[in-house]
Symmetry: C2
Subunit: 470 residues, 2 copies
């Protein structure tokens, strides 16, 4: 393994005294080696090879590729906290249903733009079972993962009324959502909810909506990256604002039921998972198979459009797409169908079967991925032991749950500094600034953490602490 020479400044003060210039330290006299796992030279060389222009603002994909490349070149494993990828095996029920579907020749047939009937039906039942919300099968549309659902939904929302052309993000958030708008050149606004919870959150949102240019609000609940959750009271008030200002709420439920403070996951029984759909009819829910069924590889989600929103007619959509201007039909036929022509046929059968098992009470998807919370608890403990702190840690007055993501800060270091410094110790993450947060820190994902890596994490954080002590 290539460990280069990496030094840290010690005693700059001595030098400044020698020069008689107390306030302007010059290059140091004496330097001490850092305990890096991956040398500065190696990392810089790899960054250059991968054409990463600025590590401080790198995308998740860039960080993931950097870590993979370094692992491959050196044979030394990273503590991979970068990408939010499943750390468990794919749900077997889906696998078997897909194999069965492959034997029925659906692979040769274009899927309907509206999706396979059985998946639409099971989606509708699943939503009733765990959210206690009614959405007709008609309005449940399979998409190539939630990213395609959000991409299409944000386009439809921003084109339905001339003046309403801007998306509002409740940050911190998933960086890809903003990157999607960069492709189309759609406007957006955002703010960090860290200092705005409860009444302050509602007031802050209303200030944006009152201007009249917001067409939709997007957030994920539980939040990616902060794992905070909007309270029922907050959801209720946001719902009221959605009605008052005719703004569509795009609720990303990627981590469905993974707020482990409450015991969700029992079909047709309280407690139901909190959702904006309880408080307004102006919403789209995005229900990914990636995390709850560990099914990220197959690219499958359901875009659940409120029936009332589905049926709304918009003159501007009719004009642009030369159709009847119906929101749901436009989103399906004129937008999503034109981008992917439906979602993988056999995977639709796989997803249908997984949803069915959950609503039948045969498969508890909440229990199946509870291991993430245990991993997060141990990781947080390890970080805190070595001088780090959890950045987003409360929902108003209640401690947040351990889950898939958590946020970590270190003393006065800024986002890019922590992220880059941790990389040298073989720990990959993304900056909180890339998620729209104004706090200093990183997003960490616990999903890839396995038992044998904990001693390595401990060792590396110990080295980090020694090197970064004042």
């Amino acid at each position: 393994m290539n460990i280069g020479k990496n030094y840290t400044l010690v005693f700059p003060f001595i030098l400044t005294i020698f020069n008689g210039q107390i306030n302007k330290p010059k290059p140091p006299f004496f330097i001490m080696e850092k305990r890096y796992t991956f040398s500065e030279e190696l990392i810089n060389k790899t960054i250059k090879e991968l054409n990463i222009t600025d590590l401080g603002t790198a995308t998740i994909g860039e960080v993931a590729r950097l870590a993979s490349t370094l692992e491959k070149e050196t044979g030394v494993p990273f503590i991979r906290m970068d990408q939010g990828a499943p750390g468990f095996d794919a749900c077997k029920i889906g696998i078997e249903a897909e194999k069965k579907a492959l034997d029925t020749n659906v692979a040769s047939k274009y899927p309907s733009p509206y999706g396979v009937g059985i998946l639409k039906k099971e989606s509708s039942i699943f939503i009733k079972a765990f959210l206690n919300i009614d959405i007709s099968p008609r309005s449940c549309i399979p998409t190539t993962g939630s990213v395609t659902a959000s991409f299409g939904s944000m386009i439809a929302c921003s084109q339905r009324e001339e003046k309403k052309d801007t998306i509002l993000f409740l940050d911190p958030g998933f960086p890809i959502h903003k990157a999607q708008l960069n492709i189309t050149g759609t406007k957006y606004l955002s703010f960090d909810i860290y200092n705005f919870r409860g009444e302050a959150l509602i007031q802050k949102i209303e200030k944006f909506l009152a201007k009249g240019n917001i067409c939709a609000i997007l957030y994920s609940n539980p939040n990616n990256p902060a794992w905070v959750c909007l309270t029922e009271k907050e959801l209720k008030q946001i719902g009221a604002l959605a009605d008052k200002y005719d703004v569509t709420i795009l609720e990303d439920l990627a981590y469905f039921g993974m707020d482990y403070r409450t015991n969700f996951g029992k079909p047709f029984e309280k407690p139901y998972i909190p959702t904006i759909a309880k408080y307004t009819d102006n919403y789209i829910l995005m229900l990914s198979a990636s995390k709850i069924f560990s099914y990220a590889g197959q690219r499958m989600a359901i875009c659940c459009i409120s029936d009332k929103l589905f049926e709304k007619r918009h003159q501007q959509l009719a004009k642009r797409y030369n159709n009847a201007g119906i929101f749901g039909d436009t989103l399906v036929n004129s937008i999503l169908y034109m981008i992917t022509s439906g979602a993988t046929h056999t995977t639709q059968y796989g997803y249908a079967e997984m949803l069915k098992s959950a609503t039948d009470g045969k498969y508890n998807f909440v229990e199946a991925v509870k291991g993430y919370a245990e991993r997060t608890e141990k990781m947080k403990h390890c970080f805190e032991k070595h001088g780090f702190h959890v950045v987003y840690n409360k929902d108003i007055d209640e401690q947040i749950s351990d889950g898939f993501f958590f946020t970590i800060g270190y003393k006065n270091m800024n986002c890019a500094e922590i992220m880059k410094e941790l990389l040298h110790y073989g720990i990959s993450s993304i900056t909180l600034s890339s998620t729209g947060s104004e706090e200093n820190g990183i997003r960490a994902c616990s999903s890839q953490m396995v038992d044998k890596m904990f001693p390595i994490l401990e060792e590396r954080l110990y080295a980090f602490e020694l090197d970064n002590k004042e």
Copy 2:
């Protein structure tokens, strides 16, 4: 079955004489029933229910839904010539490889934005084997069908230079490509090549390019819907124009090797399938699995970017996407990944295995779907027998091949008239006008035609002929 009363004007002339107004015929005296399979009332009612605003400009999806709904409501089958969907079973090799992949837990893992290594490698070999073109595995990117490849490619091309913001389509073409640009609001121009072939085609194209605003030219070869093919000489000259004006050629090879005038399909042997890639380095080839392997349901294609184009740096891309501005990396990481986050993992293994079988000479994909040509030959014959004619029938001086699509006109009827009239006789198609053609007629797809439907086609066309004779 509900057959309503439908009448046609006869003797309007008599009436006009009675009124003494030769030039302004009034409602007729005497009317004769038409031999419709589906009544005017039923069709109008269904159109209304499906919110189709104008049948004359209906999309493929709308026509397909209309035909399906009518079939379902009446139990009477349509001659489905609307959607270009495979009419054979999915290639078994792909099915088996997908099932194998499902057993290896790749379903839980996000696919790399660049695609699965084995598929990238096999794509590169396949292109060498059948096109005799070198593209590195790096530049072969799996996408959620060719539509996602064209959507992403057109975005990247139209954003790489400020002044070059317009796509040029060689029409007639696949209506979805233009609908894709409607989503993003990207500009396009187009012209019908019917009256411009050979030198005239090159001169016409150069006239567009000389203005400096064209970033890319898109066409499919063989052509959808006309089944014409650009000649080697035309491709060579278009390639030279691409170099001269720095314009990217987006070549849709959905019907790869299906020009049956030449016996393609033998790996690493002449004759190679014609392609623009032989004549310029400024191209993207789109290689769908939907038709050649009857794999439309799984949404899988390869976007093959010329290595030189892949590596080009564009300041405007760098600025917009905050990256190094490399064309290929931008298309993959900043555009395609943001829209679908990769293509279905197990399907990538399926496609890899199908491509491998073809290059190994174990599976002849050209022979496998040759049945379409036989169906088309019989269908054309039947149409011609009843007074119809083939609209696009020549490549300069050579007769076109029978294949997946063909074009049909009837006397002086315009596009919407033929399409709508045929619908009443239970024959669904799309208008040539919706494909950018200036000729009168419809696009017909032979893929769904099975033996037992030929007598029904014969019967319905006979009725059509009787009803529409002067």
